[in-house]
Amino acid sequence: MRRLHRTAFAVALAMTGVVAAHADFLRLEPGIDGVVVGAPSEVTIHFTMGVEARFSTFKVYRLELEADAHPADLTAPTERERMRLEALAASLAAAALERDDDADHPQRVDDGAPTMSGSNTAVTLGLDDDLAAGVYVVMWDVLAVDAHATSAHRLLFVAPAQDTEEVRMVGASVALTM
């Protein structure tokens, strides 16, 4: 029923003549390149344009990994590790975004109550308390204000808090080179 409403809404929006690019991902907060040190209490997804919250879905799932798929260093996953995790995340996101009533799913770690920024270009999701270190998948299926629908995901690496100093150094390095 939600999909039907969304389609009807998209058609109605399209008929208003609003034409623009769809809502592309801009960045995740907190973190640098998806790496966060210590358990974040929330995560914010920024888009290039406003999204319709009533017709969009946002979820965060923990990525369950075999031992050999774990990044050796959560603060600095290698390119190969990232590519492997991205593929696993794609499978997880495709399945999770299809699920309804998954609030109690053991892998789901967001509170299911997204809050929007004033311009609807940023969505904040509350996360479980004391999130364990590991790899998480922030995923969405959104309807933009221009009636274009997009689905995507991003990896969120939650590193143990003791690595904070090292990541501050990485962050400083990235900031200096930008």
């Binding site: 769809h22 590519m83 492997r84 991205e86 593929a87 696993l88 794609a90 499978s91 995507a152």
Partner: protein, 148 residues
């Protein structure tokens, strides 16, 4: 009961549709990955505009589907694609999802030399590691079409 005319028309339509489908897939090359695994995918590679001529804007057309013909979306960051020109020059592509076409990926490119190009796809699909090389059909010089 169909009349002979209706039956012939339907048969012609079905035959035409079949030929069209064969034509569409003929220009792309398909490789099944994960052959020794329970998890298998079809990786289909070609160009958006085929046949391919030099010096015209074109784009990669990379499609990933399950063996049940379901699209596999979300792989733009887990797959890497490079083109190898007939003279050995290599260009790395920045793969992105095709809007509105789940499981389809692309990047723009303009091929400037005639010949056969290699398209190497590496990375991961699901839990499967991929390293496959495809070949384009002969890329022909655009001058062949020039007239007068």
């Amino acid at each position: 009961m169909l009349s002979p005319t209706t039956a012939r028309t339907m048969a012609a339509f079905i035959a035409l549709a079949a030929v069209s489908l064969v034509g569409l897939s003929f220009a792309h090359q398909t490789i099944v990955v994960g052959a020794e695994s329970a998890e298998q995918y079809r990786v289909i590679v070609g160009m958006v505009r085929e046949p391919v001529f030099t010096d015209e804007r074109n784009a990669l057309d990379l499609i990933v589907r399950t063996m049940d013909d379901e699209p596999v979306p979300g792989l733009e960051a887990s797959l890497s694609v490079e083109f190898v020109a007939p003279n050995g020059a290599v260009r790395q592509l920045d793969v992105r999802a095709q809007y509105g076409r789940p499981g389809h990926y692309t990047d723009d490119i303009m091929l400037t030399a005639p010949g056969v190009y290699q398209i190497r796809v590496t990375g991961f699909i699901g839990a499967i590691e991929v390293d496959e090389t495809f070949a384009t059909h002969e890329v022909r010089p655009l001058s062949e079409l020039a007239f007068p």
